[in-house]
């Protein structure tokens, strides 16, 4: 029995809305980064949860390939959406996410986080967390492009994207964070606060991949 066209259209809608959902997840991940309190993220917290969903939505189609290996045929509809109003609904929602949320709302949100950084400083807290959140929000579009570039399109795409994200974090972000840790060490030294921890952390940030290999070799 052929699949009813409405069902085909609904499946197409969900698949076509996946990129918008991924972008929205990245925005929510950015907000969670600050809400979790510090400049780092909590494993199992909001940031990791929304990043996971962003990766999930980016790799949704390849993930469906697993059903074929389970013996369940999942023919994905091709040829676009037959029902006109459903097609325009997808276009409208995508336009809303891109034009309103990403282009207009996210920069404003980032600006509020910069304001929050100033207020953080006024209340004796670290302003860096809010600044990093603002940067993450402003870079949402590029981060989405990065996730897409890591998508291998195989059933293992989700794990591949997460692997590549780890590599990006360890190889690109961590060495830059090491500089920030050194700046923090100098400021702590000047203000008679413990600074050796930050020096050790700086070295650890520069050798994250080696520490991973060390843990693996211990197993």
């Amino acid at each position: 029995m052929p699949t009813p066209p409405v069902l085909d259209d609904l499946i197409s809608v969900l698949l076509l809305l996946a990129p918008s959902a991924a972008v929205l997840s990245l925005v929510l991940a950015g907000i969670s980064l600050r809400r979790e309190g510090t400049m780092t993220f909590t494993i199992g917290g909001g940031f990791t949860k929304w990043m996971f969903w962003a990766v999930f939505f980016v790799t949704l189609q390849p993930l469906l390939g697993w059903f074929s290996s389970f013996g369940i045929t999942t023919p994905l509809p091709s040829g676009g959406i037959a029902t006109g109003w459903i097609g325009s609904l997808v276009a409208d929602i995508s336009q809303f996410i891109t034009g309103f949320v990403v282009q207009r709302l996210v920069p404003t949100l980032a600006a509020f986080f910069v304001l929050r950084a100033v207020l953080d400083g006024a209340s004796g807290q670290q302003p860096l967390a809010s600044i990093l959140t603002a940067m993450f929000l402003l870079g949402v579009e590029t981060t989405y492009g990065l996730l897409q570039s890591y998508n291998t399109g195989t059933p293992y795409a989700m794990a591949d994207v997460l692997d590549s994200l780890w590599n990006h974090l360890a190889g690109t972000i961590m060495p830059l964070a090491a500089v920030l840790a050194l700046v923090g060490a100098i400021l702590n030294f000047a203000t008679h606060k413990p600074f050796m921890r930050l020096v050790a952390v700086s070295l650890a940030m520069l050798t994250t991949s080696a520490i991973w290999k060390l843990v693996v070799s211990m197993m």
Partner: protein, 155 residues
Amino acid sequence: MNLGAMSFDQGILNLANWLGNVIMPTLAAVFIILSVLQFSKGREFAHSMYAALASLMISGLVRAMETFASQAAWNNPDLYWLSLLALIDWVANVILPVYAASQVAAMALKLGVSSLVHPTSGWLRHFLTAAFCLMLSGVLRLAEFFVTQGTGGIT
């Protein structure tokens, strides 16, 4: 606003550059002012003075950390230990001999100002500090020797 041209990596890179090349040299002036004020009140001023130097040398310090962290291949499990070892080696063999020279100078000043050659006049502390700075490896080996001797237990 062209959000497509903005990336998180570039943002952090520019933040690190701005902190290291703009803010830290400015803060160095603040630390020097603080050290002068603390010196005038007879308080401990060395922290501010060294912090000012470190603030001006932040790029060099980053390069030093990169050198310490490049003692082996990136996937060598011992890399973190080797980088810590290189850091300690650098402190012990480069920084401490220079510190020893400053302690000898401090000892000479103490002797010259107080002209009191007595163990309690403070010159001896500077002398011993300089000696320990130069004998650090020897002191470590001595401690290792004592521990090795004690591995047999009390008989």
